[in-house]
Symmetry: C2
Subunit: 447 residues, 2 copies
């Protein structure tokens, strides 16, 4: 049996680090996707030449237009393709002849749409194979690689971060990108796989496993395309891999197979493989996001003993319940620590675990108590439950704090972004924070 | 055995519909809570007189200041108290003498803080009982009753809605109020109960059970104060009651008892009571919010057959899994409906269940297909998975649609507010929407 066929490193380099890009189907009309993507690539700060291709235009966004890829004088690494489906196989064939190593096909109307589309997709694959072009898509929302200033996607998002996000659903990818953007987080890369006619999740796992900016890989998946290739990629991947597998139920599997026109596979098999290979399984889309945040930004604590420092008694009780349910320990304070802190703090502070600094809590008090207590616990759970100004100054990125912020309205939103800028993830409820933290304790077994 | 002692209707009327308010501890200093609350009461549009009380000021926010409650010439229904704890029992005694029927004590430093505070709280209760003053708090974030223009709380929020939110934790209440505000939802009333020295959850359940603007009651609870009174209130309440009970685990219960200085009680007992009395139990803070939204805004569908109309194949698969796991049915289209819709819609639309309108979906197409399919199903799950302009025009409040919106960025945020203005709740992920919908099928047993 042959070894699984992965894309070559050179093809993947052209996909993610192109020196030049052609936008095939670039448009002069600002309401068209062919305009928006061209503009996003420019506005995201892509450093190399961006060539609009369109047989009917002369200039788009200040760049001279070529009638076709073949007509371009300069070499091109990556083509972003937004022309109608019937023209796509021809464009990809031209890419092959021209030596364009990679293409992102945004256009839909292929396998997902009709029998005619399925035939067209077969033509596309044939052209790609013949020409040695690595194709992402078709029917996808593109690639956003902020570390290369390459937003071949929409909307324009440029935040950088340590999570590589790979999605078989454009919407799910867009939703997670939006959540990240709203709280000041970014990605190392976002790939919308679409119909996965060529480049698949296995190629991407293998690629991001060696990508310097990626610390965790988050994948929305409806079904593995090639099981042997997938296992080969996963086995070699030393980074945390979080997967949301849609089509858990029989009815959901039927829907998934209708959506992807491929076998989604029984959930029991996925469950077994995920366990064996130490893949973190997210049960909800929010877990996919939360777990990726924890695994990309946090390090595994030495042990399971957590101290909750809080301004809110209520939120800390919720956190305590969640911690116990996730097999964490919420031990009492050591006697000497209790005695020294009880002696120096106001009487109405609850010196214990949870350690309740009450509504009078300031960032300084959090910082002071955290510094004194940190050595006695494996992890500090900082719960900011009020509009605590400068809360970020109480967070120590080296210490590996779990940060939960709620009930702080505008101050919360400002501080969350600041804490994220420090490289520490912030979770919106105690339950979500604790469940994400608990992932750090899972041993990636079998690899 | 005596009947449980509820507050009188007249006391509750003065608490929620006061004709006049005194702010005891109003401050000239804009950085002080005594200023902010005074200002919020005025800015929320309270129609009656608002009297600042402060022995050291002459005018606050354009109102003449009285040195004490007793010095006021006019009668007062409600006192909002923000003076230091040691003065509070005296203020409440004055309220009793003056005939002020209700007081909200914001001030902390009572039972929750120290033994001295516990004694002070006993004095406060004695003064309240003697004077016939219904007291909310102490140590609370007040009451916000937007249908009476009464924001005796902070921040200033004025959105009205059908959910009465009652919280034993100021932070949890503030967090849910903030979530609601962010998506254009409001409450019929928010009550932060604080130490619950007098008015408790049972009084509030009984009150909101007959409040015209309240369609569902959401409660964050660490422990019931008086079990017999609670059961009496619940038995008589015909509205949906959603409770998040903190202190589920033994360790959490210890934390809760430390926080409230009262017995939280074993979770098994709560679980049994909740089941017997048809109380909806939320397992997370987000569920408390989501379930309250569904129960307050939606009506119970005739049956469990749901049709998903979607622009996103992926999001609809996630929804299908969630639906099956919540005992909903995702049946195939009847043959005649399939035939007629297949005939009139573009080939690339997936005519089925999920019904995938693809990224080409417009609000008009959603509306058209929804109208034609509605009679064949018990509920329509409208999944907007892209920036779909005017999505709100496809939603029919009379039909009782389940609306899920994700991946739509700015358009999503605008449309969400518009759909909420139509009285239809929008959920941020398929899983959260489906779990909330599933609550509607639970029979409120035993009452």
């Amino acid at each position: 049996m042959d070894a699984p066929a992965f894309k070559t490193p050179e093809q993947m380099r052209k996909l993610f680090f192109p020196g030049s890009v052609a936008v095939v189907g670039a448009s002069t009309d600002p309401s068209k996707l062919g305009h928006e993507i061209m503009k996003n690539i420019i506005d995201a700060g892509f450093a190399g030449p961006v060539h609009p291709i369109n047989p009917k235009a002369e200039e788009i966004l200040g760049r001279p237009v070529s009638a076709s890829i073949s007509n371009l004088a300069e070499p091109v690494d990556l083509a972003v393709v937004i022309v109608p489906a019937r023209f796509v196989p021809g464009v990809v064939a031209e890419c092959g002849e021209k030596g364009v190593g990679a293409a992102i096909v945004i256009t839909g109307g292929f396998k997902e749409a009709s029998e005619a589309g399925e035939a067209l997709e077969a033509e596309l694959v044939e052209a790609a194979t013949k020409g040695g072009v690595a194709v992402v898509g078709p029917n996808c929302q593109g690639i956003n690689h902020p570390y290369h200033g390459l937003c071949a996607s929409w909307p324009l998002l440029t935040n950088q971060g340590p999570i590589a996000l790979v999605s078989q659903s454009g919407t799910v990818g867009a939703a997670l990108m939006d959540w990240a953007q709203l709280e000041g987080l970014g990605v190392s890369c976002f790939v919308s796989m679409g119909n996965r006619c060529d480049v698949d999740e296995s190629d991407l796992i293998r690629y991001f496993a060696q990508d310097d900016h990626t610390r965790a890989i988050a994948i929305y998946l409806e079904g593995v395309k090639d099981a042997r290739k997938f296992l080969s990629a996963v086995e070699a991947c030393e980074k945390p891999l979080v997967i949301f597998k849609a089509g858990r139920t029989e009815r959901g599997r039927v829907a998934a197979e209708s959506h992807t026109k491929s076998l989604a596979g029984r959930d029991e098999i996925y469950e077994a493989v995920f366990r064996q290979y130490g893949i973190y399984r997210a049960e909800t889309l929010e877990e996919l996001y939360d777990y990726a945040k924890a695994l990309a930004y946090m390090k595994r604590p030495k042990g399971r003993r957590i101290l909750f420092l809080t301004s809110s008694g209520g939120a800390a009780i919720v956190a305590t319940d969640a911690a116990v349910e996730c097999d964490l320990e919420v031990p009492h304070l050591p006697d000497d620590l209790y005695a020294s802190l009880r002696g120096e703090l106001p009487e109405h502070f609850v010196v214990g675990n949870p350690f309740d600094l009450t509504g009078d809590a300031t960032a300084e008090i959090y910082a002071d108590v955290a510094a004194k207590a940190a050595d006695h616990f494996d992890v500090l759970g900082l719960i900011f439950g009020d509009p605590i100004h400068d809360a970020h100054t109480a967070v120590d990125p080296e210490r590996g704090d779990l940060v939960i912020f709620l009930g702080g309205a505008e101050v919360e939103r400002e501080e969350r972004v600041k804490i994220h800028e420090m490289g520490v993830p912030v979770f919106p409820t105690p339950e979500r924070g604790i469940k994400a933290l608990a992932q750090l304790y899972k041993e990636p077994a079998g690899r």
